[in-house]
């Protein structure tokens, strides 16, 4: 493996300073489940690896009236292990439960998943569906970016040298809302999404009409996608096949997948619609059970 130094700062300021000092030749280590293999394969050759797990803020998991604040390095098992997350941010719990196996979930974080910026990242469509924003610290202070604008290409994102993703924040969940993330994989575990779909819906009190919806897709384009048209067309529509089929069609329209060892264009286009339906149906069922707290 390529030779590097290791640093484990305990504050965001120290981390940002370290990153700035190394001017782009540092890599950030959270759970390490992507990074260590990438260094082993020579995809990255950092001078220094900055372990951010010792920064308390990056391990946060706080739910308040404002919503959910999730430290960027918080491992998956703590996220799906939190009852409130499972109840209110179900799509996020769904995603973190199926990233890798138990061993990976002990270490892998949602922030790391986002920063790795793979098109098939499982937690990213869930975050987009839940209207998450990425909180980024840098030499010039902090800034926020909607998660759907975070990734710019396979393995690429808006982080500038010296910047660090510190948290993901999601707004509070209203009554009659529900969310779900699911993916298609050939096996039942330990696979990369061939297609992933996240959905969040808010229904009226009767559970019969969409108040609003957000649909997000993974593995069907160079970055995870927010399905804007599919999401917006649902608002105000009665819950039913007609609306769902319109959303499926709109999702399929924006899918621009590739043929590779994980799936074909034909397969991914078709399954994009199928998973849009399945994500919506489960989100709707959850919304109907959710009278608010």
């Amino acid at each position: 493996m390529h030779d590097f130094e290791y640093e484990a700062p305990t504050t965001v300021a120290d981390a940002v300073q370290l990153l700035a000092n190394h001017n782009g030749s540092a890599r950030i280590l959270a759970g390490g489940t992507d990074l260590i293999d990438q260094i082993r394969l020579g995809r990255f050759a950092p001078e220094v690896v900055v372990d951010v797990k010792k920064i308390a803020d990056l391990q946060a998991l706080e739910i308040s009236a404002d919503g959910l604040k999730l430290g960027a390095a918080t491992p998956c098992y703590r996220i799906y292990g939190d009852e409130a997350v499972c109840r209110d941010y179900s799509a996020l719990a769904d995603a973190t439960k199926i990233i890798g196996g138990a061993q990976i979930q002990s270490r892998a974080s949602v922030g790391g998943n986002l920063c790795n910026s793979g098109p098939a990242a499982d937690s990213t469509p869930a975050l987009i569906a839940l209207s998450a924003r990425a909180v980024i610290a840098g030499p010039g202070g902090t800034r926020e970016v909607p998660v759907e604008e975070f990734c710019t290409g396979p393995g690429k994102n808006v982080l500038q040298p010296g910047e660090l993703l510190t948290a993901l924040v999601m707004p509070a969940r209203p009554a009659h809302s529900g969310s779900h993330y699911l993916r298609f994989i050939p096996r039942n575990e330990m696979d990369i999404a061939v297609v992933g779909a996240g959905a969040s819906v808010v229904l009226d009190a009767a559970g019969e009409t969409f108040v609003s919806a957000r649909i997000a897709l993974g593995a069907v384009a160079a970055t995870p996608l927010y399905a804007k048209e599919a999401s917006e067309l649902l608002a105000g529509k009665p819950v039913g096949d007609e609306a769902i089929e319109a959303a499926m069609a709109a999702s399929r329209k924006i899918a621009v997948p590739i043929d590779d060892m994980r799936g074909t264009v034909e397969f991914r286009k078709h399954v994009t619609g199928v998973l849009t339906r399945r994500a919506l149906e489960k989100a709707i069922a959850r919304a109907r059970e959710n009278a608010g707290s």
Partner: protein, 161 residues
Amino acid sequence: MAKKRVVTTTINGEQTEFLCQPRQTLLEALRDVLNLTGTKEGCSNGNCGACTILMDGRPVDSCLVLAVESEGAELETIEGVAPAEGLDPIQTAFLENAALQCGICTPGFIMAAKALLESNPHPTEQEIRFYLAGNLCRCTGYDKIIRAVQDAAKSREEVTV
């Protein structure tokens, strides 16, 4: 070349100091520095679970942990599972159920099964299958491994009652 670091950990209940380079994985340190070769290397990218150990009570693929990250951690490896005399009920169940053939995946399976039973003492068959999906076995078809974990859950219960 980056200088070696001194790492202080607890391994199988004993405080242990070792030297490693930042680029060495915990798997490499266990096997090559500490001579704990019971932890196996199957793929080195977190997809087979052969190198599973417990780190602060959680199962991890030690191939995806830097050795330097284990500073201050409590580690448990296959070498620490059996009591001074005899075997852990999981080990006994693997033997009695013929849940191993070549045996290379066995240490990883036992560590993952231990983590499972400690967090969920009465798992269903599907819960066992889901939890152990991060461990590959190519010999057994898993049938006897699942039965062994079911048996181990039962005998652990008898021990604690």
